[in-house]
């Protein structure tokens, strides 16, 4: 059990309440090296597993010769499809019932390079690694379809549910006075958390303990339970700290099944760590995308029609949809609209979720296209955005709950100095550096799933908050301590928060930027229930100093219970607990609707995503908004691009802790700079391999790539979006960064790059 307490120094007195800039309370553990991440446990007798991956992208395995590996010192088991303990297929994350077929985490038929085919388990990591190199695999290889640029991949197939249409986009385009049409492309991109994936699996009888970094303890635990046919309660998953996820640690993986199978077969704990190169194929990142966008407009730049056709890669045997119509369908008002999307199967691992899946590439398309339209009709890129401002959700035909995008444009432009921009391309220069200013907007929906939390008031006055929800750096520990402290009326230092353990009250996935809002809501509710019980105790208990008072007359401030009738007299929570002989007050609350307060719906809510509400369910359309203003400097001889200055204005509603929210925003912006200028999974067209599967070749931003970033909050509390007024934070800020940079590069150079990343060979 990991307990985070808040006994630390901090700044001013406002720190403790929600909205204060409290330093993160899990910080001391992280800066001293005592935070215990998943792979840092040492159960007795632990063995080490190393996964072996296919070296071909398409074909089948003819034979696996494991004799040399089995003979290698220290080797305990070479696991192959032929000797692996059979397990069942589990319910998927949507809650769809599984087919009654075995689940085979090690493949015989190969559909992508890097597919797990065997594993070596040995006494030490070094032995397992060395023995894995001795396993000889014979394949029958067929020619892979390496990407959707391979003509044999075809056009893929239409995903009907992604189609959005109103008006008559074709007819309006045909008659529009101004018409532009271009294709925009993004490559495969990878999550690259600095903590590689992996787990330790430990069986004790039919109980399975898993130390595994997880964005969704309850969902993943359900899968493990179903794989092995054991009760959900028999799985204990611990993930108090996660070394980054960005969408990649939310779902169970094949290597997870392999480790648990090996541990069961060997009857000893097994640690399986994915190598850095394997993090490019053991799970998927963002798929490659392409979008063709046609805009029809008046000569003044007012949109008349948008036609959008998108496609993303998926794997040969599964469906991954990167919703490319998500931003283009709501950012601007247009009377005519048509968006359709295909997915194209290729020989790749199934793509996964990477920060703002859908919104991110969708914004790259429309935010570049609207910039092109601005130049086409000769108006300012900021003005064209205001001219086409969507006053309500044009797709759902509902009012926005809050949309502070106009305020964001104004605040960002002012802070950036947008007015100083010379509108002509290639007009701003310092020495050999061409300077460009670019702007682009972004948005991310507010997703909502009910949450659950336990709040306890202990006899010594300590407040305990518990949930299986997780903190991978978003600040969950800290904002939940602030929520409970404010709701009960205690100093934040007296709050202890426990997270990331399946034995605690349930939580849905930490994804879709929903966790902070739903968990603060649940903790708020549970804390108020605990507070009410404490007040009731103080009034009713014969041993309480307040026993003669009427209800609703007591207040709690700074951990002291106060009576308004007797000004100046106060008794601490601990004293009331002592006098009344109570060891604890406990309130377990969830935010499920009344009609779903039963075990089946409760389980379904936390172990599938089937109850997650869409941003347009209800009377309003709920979204966060942002705008990025970028200055780039492009070397006139070499075409190297550097972001030299950036101002972003963001509307995430109410910020529960601005210090931590700003960090998340900046993190998203920095990932966006990487996406714009550096990140690209390069696929070998002959062999279907991601060739740059390491951090020396798949480039993510370094410190030297990043200038000072200014972020401005323009949000106001939005209680349609969440109980306490927050909207989405974590995934918002990356959206719009790449198009803002591409637009700035166009302004600097006159070269329009429509395919990410914007690298020098595209500019010279």
């Amino acid at each position: 059990m990991t307990i985070i307490d808040t006994k630390m120094k901090h700044g001013d007195a406002s720190d403790g309440i929600l909205g204060g800039r409290l330093s993160r309370i899990d910080g001391p553990a992280k800066i001293t090296g005592t935070a215990d991440y998943a792979m840092e446990h040492f159960p007795e007798g632990m063995a080490h597993a190393v996964i072996i991956d296919s070296t071909i992208a398409s074909g089948r395995i003819l034979a696996i010769d494991s004799a040399a590996a089995e003979a290698y010192p220290g080797v305990l088991l070479v696991l192959t499809p032929d000797n692996a303990l059979p397990i069942k297929t589990a319910t998927d994350w949507t809650g769809a019932p599984p087919p009654a077929v075995p689940y085979e985490p090690l493949a015989r038929d190969i559909t992508f390079s890097g597919q797990h085919i065997a594993a070596v388990i040995a006494g030490t990591f070094e032995q397992a690694t060395a023995a894995a190199a001795l396993v000889k695999v014979t394949y029958e290889e067929t020619t892979p379809i390496s990407s959707f640029d391979d003509p044999r991949s075809g056009e893929g197939y239409l995903i009907d549910m992604m189609t959005k249409e109103w008006g008559d986009a074709e007819a309006a385009l045909a008659t529009a006075p101004v018409r532009i049409e271009q294709e925009y492309r993004t490559p495969r991109e990878y999550n690259v958390p600095i903590e590689p994936h992996g787990l330790i699996a430990h069986w004790e009888g039919d109980k399975l303990t898993l130390w595994e970094p997880s964005q969704w303890i309850d969902g993943m635990s359900r899968t493990y339970a179903e794989w092995f046919g054991i009760p959900f309660e028999n799985v204990r998953m611990l993930s108090p700290y996660i070394g980054g996820g960005f969408g990649s640690k939310a779902l169970p993986t094949r290597y997870g099944a392999v480790a648990a199978i090996a541990a069961k077969m060997l009857d000893r704990p097994v640690k399986l760590a994915i190598t850095r190169p394997q993090t490019f194929t053991a799970f998927g990142g963002r798929p490659a995308t392409r979008q063709t966008i046609a805009l029809g407009a008046t000569r003044e730049g007012k949109l008349l029609s948008i036609r959008h056709r998108g496609a993303n890669e998926t794997s040969m045997d599964d469906v991954a949809v990167e919703p490319l119509g998500s931003v283009i369908s709501i950012m601007y008002a247009t009377p005519n609209f048509s968006s359709r999307q295909n997915i194209v199967p290729v020989n790749t691992v199934k793509p996964g979720a990477l920060r703002a899946p859908g919104e991110n590439p969708s914004a790259f398309g429309i935010e570049c296209a609207i910039d092109e339209l601005a130049y086409e009709v000769g108006i300012d890129p900021l003005d064209i955005r205001l001219l086409n401002y969507a006053e309500e959700d044009p797709s759902a035909n509902k009012p926005w709950s809050t949309r502070r995008l106009r305020e964001a444009y104004a605040a960002g432009a002012e802070a950036f100095g947008w007015a100083k921009r010379n509108p002509r391309v290639r007009s701003m220069r310092e020495g050999k550096q061409l300077i460009g200013y670019g702007v682009a907007a972004g948005t991310y929906p507010v997703r909502r799933t009910p949450g659950e939390a336990m709040v306890r008031i202990l006899s010594n006055g300590t407040i305990e908050v518990a949930s299986s929800g997780i903190d991978m750096g978003q600040g969950t520990y800290t904002i939940l301590a602030q929520t409970a402290a404010e709701a009960i009326g205690v100093p934040v230092e007296t709050v202890v928060v426990k997270l990331g353990d399946s034995s605690l009250p349930r939580a849905p996935v930490a994804g879709g930027s929903q966790l902070a809002n739903l968990m603060t809501g649940a903790v708020h509710k549970a804390a108020h229930a605990a507070r009410d019980e404490l007040i009731g105790l103080a009034i009713n208990d014969p041993n309480s100093p307040f026993r003669d008072l009427q209800a609703n007359t007591l207040t709690i401030e700074a951990g002291q219970i106060l009576s308004p009738r007797d000004a100046g007299s106060s008794v601490s929570i601990a004293e009331v607990m002592r006098r009344t002989g109570r060891e604890r007050i406990e309130a377990l609350r969830n935010t499920l609707p009344e009609e779903h307060q039963n075990d089946k719906d409760h389980f379904r809510n936390f172990t599938t995503i089937s109850t997650m509400k869409s941003p347009t369910e209800g009377d309003y359309s709920l979204h966060s908004w942002c705008v990025h203003f970028v200055e780039v400097r492009v070397d006139v001889d070499f075409g190297t691009v550097r972001v030299s200055r950036m101002v972003s204005a963001l509307d995430s509603g109410r910020l529960y802790n601005p210090k931590l929210a700003e960090s998340q925003w900046k993190g998203g912006i920095i990932m966006g700079i990487g996406q714009a200028l550096l990140e690209e999974g390069i696929v070998d067209p002959r062999h279907g391999r991601v060739m740059n599967n390491n951090l020396g070749d798949y480039l993510i931003p370094t410190n030297a790539d990043i200038p000072d970033l200014q972020v401005i909050s323009v949000g106001i509390p939005d209680t349609h979006a969440s109980v306490l007024g927050g909207k989405a934070v974590g995934e918002l800020a990356i959206v719009g960064v790449a198009p803002a940079i591409a637009n700035a590069v166009y302004h600097a150079t006159g070269v329009r790059v429509r395919e990410l990343p914007v690298t020098l060979e595209k500019l010279i």
Partner: protein, 158 residues
């Protein structure tokens, strides 16, 4: 290859004796054999900096260093950075104050690098800090706050 060797390592001022194969890296010796897990494994290829420790006061990548190479030299890890009284190092304090991390996984390496960066005299300007802290990757994107923290810690340390 199962020949094991006995190593005596000076880690955080204490002599540690361990019996390991010669191919064990300093990183794995620290994490798996001495259970000093503050030093992180991010890539095991010398590309991310998460495994940064000090050897005789200089920053090295422990994943590219064999444990056997550093016998007789002074190894300092994040666990040994605070003074004996348990007070945080000024760099640690500054990281907390400036929120120079999120998930925390690259953080011990960033802090060990930052201490050395300041000691080397490479914290003279923000640009210099950025350059000399670029061997440590952070995917959460804490870079601007890392620069602030190093700048402020350098003032305290001088």
């Amino acid at each position: 290859m199962t020949n094991e060797t006995i190593l005596h390592l000076d880690v955080n001022g204490q002599t540690q004796t361990l019996t390991v194969e010669p191919r064990v890296t300093l990183l794995d010796a620290l994490r798996d054999h001495l259970e000093l897990t503050g030093t992180k494994k991010g890539c095991d290829q010398g590309q991310c900096g998460a495994c940064t420790v000090h050897v005789d006061g200089e920053r090295v990548l422990s994943c590219l260093t064999l444990a056997a190479q550093v016998e007789g030299r002074k190894i300092t890890t994040i666990e040994g950075l605070s003074d004996a009284g348990g007070d945080l190092h000024p760099v640690q304090e500054a990281f907390l104050e400036h929120d120079a991390f999120q998930c925390g996984y690259c953080t011990p390496g960033q802090i060990m690098s930052a201490v050395a960066c300041i000691r080397e005299g490479h914290a003279g300007s923000d640009d210099e800090i950025r350059e000399y802290m670029s061997g440590n990757l952070c995917r959460c994107g804490a870079y601007p706050h890392i620069v602030e923290a190093v700048r402020e810690a350098a003032k305290v340390m001088s």
